[in-house]
Symmetry: C3
Subunit: 116 residues, 3 copies
């Protein structure tokens, strides 16, 4: 059984299958706030997406983080560490990419375990 949640014009924000929750690439809504602020917004949105699937940030499996300026990773990490307790850290890859859309500094893709 596959569950899909929150349909947009091009994707579902959340798809659940075989105990794994896939969350689509998430960007901030207000791009004026800098990298740390964009990260805060994204993580809050991800909280909402995980809740939709009946799970939460203590069950993350993997994260892929795309940044347009990898040198600014420390700003992102501040928001990341504020959001997560170390014992719940997922695996992570952080990659500097060419373009994420106008004024978009960061996009995050995560997977999580569905609730038990």
């Amino acid at each position: 059984m596959t569950e899909r949640h929150i349909q947009t014009p091009i994707m579902h924000r959340v798809v659940v299958h075989n105990g794994i929750v896939f969350v689509g690439g998430t960007v901030a809504d207000d791009m004026s706030v800098g990298l740390e602020g964009q990260t805060d917004q994204i993580l809050a949105k991800i909280d909402g997406y995980l809740k939709e699937a009946g799970t939460d940030k203590t069950r993350l499996l993997s994260a892929t983080i795309f940044l347009t300026d990898l040198n600014r990773k420390p700003e992102m990490d501040k928001a990341w560490k504020r959001w997560l307790s170390p014992e719940h850290f997922p695996t992570r890859a952080t990659v500097g990419v060419a373009d994420l859309g106008e004024d978009t500094l960061i996009e995050i893709v995560i997977t999580a375990a569905a609730s038990a």
Copy 2:
């Protein structure tokens, strides 16, 4: 049990494990046709890869789409929406990257649910 299908010199095109079908990064064969045309070709190839694993595009879980020019995303989306019914949309992340190979405008990576 892990099933692997379609071996190339550097990968298997399709690997199936625990109800999840992984499909390798897929690019077009004819790069002369523009972004929308390359996307059409890729999606047709993915149809074939999914069939090899006994599943189809109605069971997609996640998609990661790499573009060399993110400004041209609308051309890709036209092909995407022609291919998929909204109720079957997977999660998706679309990222502008530096290089996908000569004349390659797009590469798509997907996962899908195996057949029930």
Copy 3:
């Protein structure tokens, strides 16, 4: 049940859930050795991470390989083919990205099947 292994300041190197082993983005330790040498180092580190999860490179499911110079892919492929027997190849996507960190030429993300 989710297992997490090898905590760093920002991630777990390995997370296991529902028979799937997620390994975080892995880069070389010594960046002075060129692309083929960096790849050798990464693959050796991945061997260690997989062992930590009780599995090995014969059970790989998917690989995502980020390169800062896609033209040098053949150097990476030499190390890749030395490491893996073709029958165990996972799915793979290889993408040219803007930045992976100073002198970092390659980063690899993989998933694997947990041991039976």
